[in-house]
């Protein structure tokens, strides 16, 4: 099997479509995963059982079922009685929701790592509950868990091709289509390299952040 550059050229337009979709999914998926995960983590520390309990149940459920099943469910089942979304939007929501249940565990560990004395000091100066969270607890908790959160960005990048199952063709999805139609391997190879090109700088960035933030 000889490497044929003309297949690379042919694949390029599809490749750029795929890269765009991958980056969009990654960016917005991360946004959802990071913010929703924080909501879950705080809700699970609520004093009210009727908040704590359902959130725990739902996040456990999402975490222990495959992303692929959730994508199918969001794309084919939810529209029957709820909103119908484009493949890309569905993919972003699915990816973000799925990984929010992992990031919530990361946040939880960070929050539990803040010493009890910090809560007590906040009480002693009468800070409101909201202010205690936003000014005292979260800045300390989040700083500690940024490296762990960053790992999930890389995991999400590598899991984003699952969106192809509902028709949102990321770069790997595009390559698969091209390769199967032409019986060639150049497109898949290009995409393999593209994953490294995106993931490696991201992990370097993470290590820099880790050094700067975790003291």
């Amino acid at each position: 099997m000889n490497w044929n550059w003309s297949h690379v050229d042919d694949f390029m337009p599809l490749f750029w479509d795929g890269v765009q979709l991958t980056l969009k999914a990654l960016f917005f998926g991360t946004l959802i995963a990071f913010s929703l995960g924080l909501v879950w983590a705080i809700a699970q520390r609520s004093e009210r059982k009727w908040i704590r309990w359902p959130v725990t149940a739902v996040t456990e459920f999402i975490r222990s079922t495959p992303l692929l099943v959730q994508l199918f469910f969001l794309f084919y089942v939810v529209p029957q009685w709820g909103p119908s979304m484009s493949p890309l939007t569905t993919g972003i929501v699915g990816l973000g929701l799925h990984y929010s249940t992992y990031t919530s565990e990361v946040y939880r560990a960070g929050i539990e790592g803040v010493p009890a004395g910090q809560w007590e000091a906040a009480t002693a100066v009468s800070l409101s509950r909201r202010r205690t969270w936003t000014a005292v607890i979260l800045p300390q908790a989040v700083r500690r868990v940024i490296p762990a959160l960053g790992n999930y960005v890389i995991i999400m990048l590598k899991e984003s091709p699952q969106m192809a199952a509902i028709g949102a063709l990321d770069m790997l999805g595009q390559a698969q289509g091209y390769s199967q139609a032409t019986f060639t391997y150049e497109a898949i190879s290009v995409v393999g390299v593209a994953f490294i090109v995106i993931a490696y700088p991201a992990s370097v960035l993470l290590r820099v952040l880790e050094r700067r933030l975790v003291r």
Binding site: G117, A121, T123, A124, V125, S126, L127, S128, R131, A135
Partner: protein
């Protein structure tokens, strides 16, 4: 005795003779099967400096933590000023206090902890201004002016822009004192504030507290093992044992001619 059996006079005026700022009435606190405070009654008059002494596990720190609302009593009432910390009046009846009521009463109380507990994510100045701005609603300028005054008072006026981790333990504890005072509390609780410090840093912190004790009319409730400090600043010393006050009096009396055998034993061990 539960709160429900309190009489109506008590509801109207917890401070019976008008001068008692803090009043514990039959307060019980248990941790599991261990009763730390057993129907404790005691009161502190406004402006007094009271030191709680006694063996560890005798319930001294629990009293401070109850006042700071870090723990809740199992039974009894705690009065602060003309209100209760633990209860509020609703429709002529005394009911367990809601969060809002607790917050209002608690604003009169400040606390300095053994482990300082400064907010490590904030610079020194912001540690002191955070609560006055977000709780008391002071403007940033007002709060900073007041914070600088207080930091000068504790000898750290030049460290406003440092992070707590850049300070020594003694300096951190002095910032913590400034942070507590910035809320202008009527009562200052001091929980073994020098126990976590290296010996050479203790004096600086005690000097600051002595200064505050002698120049302000703030009420102080102090748990300490520094007997010379207790003798120096206290108007009254309470000797605790097994969740009860077994002896109380002015420091000269407690330290020189204690009446109770347990007090003699305890002082013999720590002095």
């Amino acid at each position: 005795m539960s709160a429900d059996s309190s009489t109506s006079q008590e509801i109207a005026n917890p401070a019976v003779d008008g001068s008692e700022l803090i009043r514990f009435d039959k307060v019980v606190k248990r941790y599991g099967s261990n009763t730390v405070l057993d129907e404790l009654d005691f009161s502190v008059a406004s402006g007094k400096h009271v030191t709680l002494i006694g063996p560890s596990g005798s319930g001294k720190t629990t009293i401070l933590r109850l006042l700071m609302t870090l723990v809740k009593p199992d039974e009894g009432t705690i009065g602060v000023g003309d209100r209760y910390l633990t209860h509020e009046e609703r429709g002529g009846r005394l009911v367990p206090a809601g969060e809002k009521h607790v917050r209002e009463v608690r604003k009169n109380i400040g606390m300095v902890f053994q482990q300082f507990n400064l907010f490590p994510n904030m610079k020194v100045l912001r540690n002191v201004t955070e609560a006055p701005v977000s709780v008391l609603g002071l403007s940033k300028d007002e709060a900073e002016a007041r914070a600088r005054e207080l930091l000068d008072l504790v000898g750290l006026g030049d460290r406003c822009d440092a992070y707590p981790s850049q300070l020594s333990g003694g300096q951190q504890q002095r910032v913590a004192i400034a942070r507590a005072l910035a809320m202008r509390p009527q009562v200052l609780l001091l929980d073994e504030v020098t126990s976590a410090l290296d010996p050479e840093l203790v004096a600086g912190v005690l000097d600051v507290l002595r200064d505050i004790a002698h120049t302000t009319d703030i009420t102080m409730l102090c748990v300490t093992h520094e007997m010379s400090f207790a003798r120096d600043i206290s108007d009254q010393v309470l000797m605790f044992d097994a969740g009860r006050v077994i002896e109380s009096g002015p420091p000269e009396q407690i330290f020189t001619e204690p009446e109770h055998e347990r007090t003699r034993e305890f002082l013999g061990a720590v002095l």
